[in-house]
């Protein structure tokens, strides 16, 4: 597999480490809702087809990337620097009760 790193160009996938699903929104640091965190950490889709993934260019520029990859054909549709595309969550509106 080949991944085109926005910094380093096209590279063999052996230079990268995959971290997993990049489609989840990480909860806000102040969010204390148990279900929200539980879903973030454990509940994730396992799609057949297009999938957004975090990849780390460990043996290159050490940038974290968001790669859109087809889980069946391994076709790569797009690569971006994670810092350019991740969105920050809104702060939790009211303090919700956490799990015990």
């Amino acid at each position: 597999m080949r991944i085109t790193c926005p910094c380093c160009g096209e590279r063999d996938y052996g230079e990268f480490a995959i971290y997993g699903d990049a489609s989840r929104q990480r909860p806000h640091m102040d969010d204390t809702d148990f279900e929200t965190w539980y879903n973030y950490v454990y509940t994730r889709p396992n799609p057949k087809g297009r999938h957004l993934e975090f990849w780390h260019h460990v043996q290159g520029c050490r940038q974290w990337l968001v790669v859109e990859r087809d889980t069946v054909t391994h076709e790569v549709y797009g690569v971006a620097l994670a810092r350019d595309v991740v969105t920050l969550p809104d702060a939790p509106k009211a303090k919700r009760k956490g799990a015990k």
Partner: protein, 1000 residues
């Protein structure tokens, strides 16, 4: 003349260059250009091995990589290599080979009795018979069965040869060098593309090399090779097999650089693994002939018709004197005519009702008898074929008569049609499609960047193959961006003759009522016959994937190159489905067996992974340190005095540290600079404890969790300025922590202005521990006030030593008064040396990781053995450390019931009741005198002898922890050895629990 069966001046071998070799200790002569198989046949040797299961005598069956029988042990000593294909081994002077899978000899093999009981040895025999007679019976029988089966034996000596792995890049990769492959390379090369052509054989030409020497195609071949060699942008790689096709144009090749020599030249690699990154691919690997099952169709002297033709035309060898050629298609006629021309008496048995008229006429004028509407139902002769039993045969219904004629012969050639080599297309996930006209699977639409040409797509004539290759090569080059004209291809000299009449699919010659029943083999290498496929069907197997695994058809080293299609055609017939409905199994890499050596390349021994040395490595070695591997690092394990072993040394070192002081190399700890205006906020989120109040000049111990709430890593982090922190991590998790921090900053908290930089390799680290450490450091770093008031526990100071920047941290892993010193790596040895010299006046000793471990266990600090990815803060006794005033990574998930459960295994100390009794790491903790069964209540995680306590001690994790077990007895059991050590559960803080020493 090299060999009794050599045609004078025949073939394409060098008749001037005689080479001598031995097979099973007997000396023979061959010629340069021979394979081991052709040289054996030239000496009249057909019997080369015994079969896998029945130990039946087997001969040379093919002339290339598809060979199922002729597996031999090649070379001797450390270079001995089992299961080498005699048909692809190039002959060299002094070659030593021996037959396999026989005892006491190839001619007389006692295990051939298996053959008499073959109806018991049918598919699934072993599992049906040996699983069940008594409990664990399979485990009992398995090693005996495995010994009786199997092929050659591998050497146990280290491989003396070198291998390498290289990367190549091109626009068009061409696989195969027959007329199609060469034409593809020419078209792409002329267009200006960077071309790599891979051919598994030593000579380029493919099927053209099997034509009689002096054929018109020879001139075509010489012309095209001449032009290709002149093209600077074309790289020709003979002896190189393309064995794997991967995503995005990545292909794996293996080049046999020196296998055709007794041993590699000096500094030459034996084999080279090549990873090719290419824009486009032209596959032109050709097609493999397949046999037709008939009774005893595995006898030596029976071979594929195309192989017989190759031996005659290419190697100048007569594989027999009197041949029967059994065919269901036109291709075998060329073999019959060429055999006849070489002086072999030939009879053609044609399964189709009528022979193709033109070819039949050629046969008639060459006085070759053609028996159309007939089939060979069985072969006679045990060690070599003696005659063929011929029956009348209806190819449409498969019905056959009684034996109508017995033709004596010493060579029985068979051709059941041709299977395109679809492997590299199939490896890319493309299901092959069944072509009814060829009665074979063709690759279908090429996947992603591939083009297919030649016999692989059914272009069987030389000219047709060349044209399809040329077109594919030009197209591939254009797609890859090469714009020059490919001009036109000359096919002068290439035969354009296609088959006159279609092949008649014949998958099995069933003997009629009156005909002797004999085993009809489908997969020779795994001894799978038609009857095994029938048995699998009878027992309810429907899917070909199940058929394959149950009968092991196609699962041998040849991966069923000659047997897969026949096997599934038989299955289709039995289940009443069509062949396309039945489907094929999936081909996976490698196409041919690839040595582990080539895959490993240079990455063996010390080069298996990068070796990390600390800046003090050489000093440590010079000063007598015994080293130990810790991950990729080499660390000083202990510094023995004369006569000391590791135990004596670490006990002395530990004792001296507590009495005076000691120095240890701690460079391997992960070190990360954390900088930026939001650094304090960042650390506050990363660690479980609070960081905002930490002042510059102070250090703090921190623990970080994973998102799931379990402990990830720990270490001390120091604040050097308002915006600059210096973090340390454990040695083991240094890289993981760095990636984690980068992930948090780049993917989660992009609003934080923080930068992290790994400086593990940039700083040398050393620790000085013991009551005399203060005096020693005061002497060396005189401008720092080391008094307890001025430089308290967890203080940090920066200074220079003779112009070298130094950071001093008052932190302790041993429980003693202790300091750590960090200095840029290049100054590491100088600073260490200065402390070592000054230390002589302070009783300084050197200590290694063994004593480091003993000191931390005495103090009750957990380490990697306890932070094993399964422990929570509470498990490690750190529940109170977590801040309740802020959120941190893992702060919500750590509140899960399962993690808070007080029955979890928690951190405790262990004291054997007998202080001289040694605890074993990993021992299971069971109730004292209770049942010593199951997983137990916990386990022993760390153990040492404690000089401070004068006894063995240990750390462990036990259900309910101290609260449930403090003061109680527990049995530490090591079931593999039957050891049981009774211990008392105590606080893990064995030494100075109040911390007076480290704080004072």
């Amino acid at each position: 003349m090299a060999g009794s069966h050599r045609i004078p001046n025949g073939g394409r071998v060098s008749h001037g260059a005689s080479t001598s070799f031995t097979f099973d200790g007997k000396r023979f002569q061959g010629l340069q250009g021979d394979t081991l198989a052709s040289a054996l046949l030239a000496n009249g040797v057909h019997l080369v091995g015994r079969s896998f299961k029945y130990h039946r005598p087997r001969g040379i069956f093919a002339a290339g990589a598809e060979e199922p029988n002729a597996l031999v042990g090649l070379r001797e000593g450390a270079r001995a290599e089992p299961n080498s294909l005699a048909t692809t081994v190039e002959l060299y002077d002094g070659l030593v080979a021996k037959s396999q899978n026989n005892w006491p000899s190839l001619e007389f093999d006692v295990s051939e009795v298996n053959n008499l009981f073959q109806r018991f040895f049918s598919a699934g025999f072993y599992y049906k018979t040996f699983i069940g007679p008594f409990e664990k019976s399979w485990m009992w029988y398995e090693h005996i069965i495995r010994k009786a089966a199997g092929m050659g034996e591998a050497t146990t000596q280290p491989d003396p040869d070198h291998y390498e792995k290289v990367y190549k890049f091109c626009d068009v990769l061409v696989v195969g060098s027959g007329p199609a492959g060469l034409s593809a390379a020419l078209a792409a090369g002329r267009a200006g593309a960077r071309v790599i052509l891979a051919e598994q054989e030593p000579e380029l030409g493919g099927a053209l090399l099997s034509a009689p020497k002096g054929s018109p195609s020879d001139q075509w071949l010489s012309n095209i090779l001449g032009e290709l060699k002149k093209l600077q942008n074309v790289e020709l790689l003979p002896r190189t097999v393309a064995w794997g096709a991967y995503d995005h144009g990545t292909y794996t090749l293996m080049e046999k650089v020196a296998d055709h020599k007794p041993q590699p030249d000096e500094h030459e690699v034996r084999q080279r693994s090549i990873v090719v990154q290419t824009g486009r691919v032209v596959l032109a690997p050709g097609a493999l002939e397949r046999p037709i099952p008939f009774g005893n169709n595995d006898r030596p002297g029976i071979m594929l018709a195309g192989a017989a033709r190759t031996y005659v035309n290419r190697y100048g060898v007569l594989p027999g004197k009197k041949a029967v050629v059994f065919t269901n298609n036109d291709s075998a006629y060329q073999a019959a005519l060429d055999l006849k021309a070489a002086g072999i008496d030939v009879t053609v048995v044609e399964a189709r009702a009528e022979a193709p008229s033109e070819l039949a006429a050629s046969c008639a004028s060459a006085s070759i008898e053609v028996m159309s509407g007939h089939a060979v139902v069985g072969a006679n002769g045990r060690m070599h074929v003696r005659s063929a039993d011929v029956v009348r045969f209806d190819a449409k219904t498969g019905a056959s008569s009684d034996v109508v004629r017995q033709i004596s012969c010493d060579l029985l050639c068979v051709s059941g049609g041709w299977n395109p080599v679809v492997h590299l297309s199939s490896q890319r996930g493309r299901r092959p499609e069944f072509d009814a006209k060829l009665a074979a699977f063709v690759p279908g639409d090429p996947p992603d960047n591939q083009h297919h040409a030649g016999a692989m797509v059914g272009a069987f004539s030389d000219a047709g193959a060349a044209e399809s290759g040329f077109e594919a090569g030009a197209e591939a080059a254009r797609e890859a961006g090469a714009s020059k004209s490919s001009k036109t291809l000359s096919t002068d000299g290439l035969s354009g003759a296609d088959w006159e009449q279609p092949l008649a699919p014949v998958w099995d010659i069933k003997p009629g009522e009156q005909v002797k029943k004999r085993k009809r083999f489908v997969d020779f290498q795994h001894d799978v016959g038609v009857s095994d496929v029938e048995l699998a069907h009878t027992e309810g197997y429907v899917s070909v994937e199940h058929l394959k695994r149950y009968t092991t058809l196609g699962m041998a080293a040849d991966q069923g190159k000659t047997s897969n299609i026949t096997g599934l055609a038989l299955m289709a017939e039995l289940t009443g489905r069509s062949i396309p409905e039945t489907g094929t199994t999936t081909f996976r890499p490698p196409y041919n067996p690839v040595s582990f050596g080539a895959i490993a390349g240079q990455e063996t021994g010390q080069h298996f992974r990068p070796l990390r040395r600390t800046p003090l490595h050489d000093w440590n070695l010079k000063n007598g340190a015994e080293m130990i591997n810790v991950g990729a690092w080499q660390r000083a394990w202990y510094y023995p005095k004369p006569g000391e072993d590791v135990d004596a040394a670490y006990i002395r070192e530990t004792t001296e540290v507590r009495k005076t002081c000691g120095m240890v190399d701690v460079t391997t700890l992960g070190k990360i600079e954390v900088q930026g205006p939001d650094a304090a906020e960042f650390l506050n989120r990363v660690y479980v404890n609070g960081w905002k109040l930490l002042k510059p000049g102070r250090a703090r111990y921190g623990v970080m969790l994973r998102d799931d709430g379990l402990v990830f890593d720990d270490g001390t982090t120091s604040r050097l300025s308002d915006t600059h922190y210096f973090m340390t991590t454990t040695t083991a998790e240094a890289a993981a922590v760095m990636s984690h921090l980068e992930w948090l900053l780049q993917c989660c908290w992009t609003d934080l202005k923080v930068h992290v930089t790994s400086v593990t390799d940039q700083y040398a680290g050393l620790a000085i521990a013991g009551p005399n450490s203060r005096g020693l450091l005061q002497e060396v770093f005189a401008d720092i006030d080391f008094s307890n008031e001025a430089f308290p526990f967890m203080g940090v100071r920066e200074t220079e030593y003779k112009g070298m920047p130094v950071r001093v941290f008052r932190i302790s892993f041993s429980g003693e008064l202790a300091y750590e010193v960090a200095t840029p790596s290049g100054f590491g040895e100088a600073v260490w040396e200065a402390l070592y010299e000054a230390g002589k006046g302070h009783g300084l000793c050197l200590y290694g990781t063994e004593a480091l471990g003993a000191l931390r266990i005495e103090k009750g600090h957990f380490a990697g053995n306890e932070i094993d990815g399964r422990t929570s803060l509470e498990d490690l006794g750190l529940g109170k450390m977590a801040s309740t005033k802020k959120q941190f990574v893992g702060s919500i998930m750590r509140q899960r019931e399962g993690i808070q459960d007080e029955n979890r295994q928690r951190f405790v100390g262990l004291e054997p009741v007998n202080p001289k009794e040694r605890l074993s790491g990993g021992a299971l903790l069971h109730p004292h005198n209770g049942p010593h069964a199951g997983h137990g209540l916990g386990h022993v995680s760390s153990t040492t002898y404690s000089p401070a306590l004068g006894r063995f001690i240990g750390l462990g994790l036990i259900e309910g922890g101290l609260e449930r077990y403090e003061g109680q007895l527990i049995d530490a059991c090591y079931p593999l050895k039957g050891w049981v050590v009774t211990c008392k559960v105590v606080s893990p803080h064995f030494y100075d629990p109040a911390g007076e020493k480290q704080n004072g």
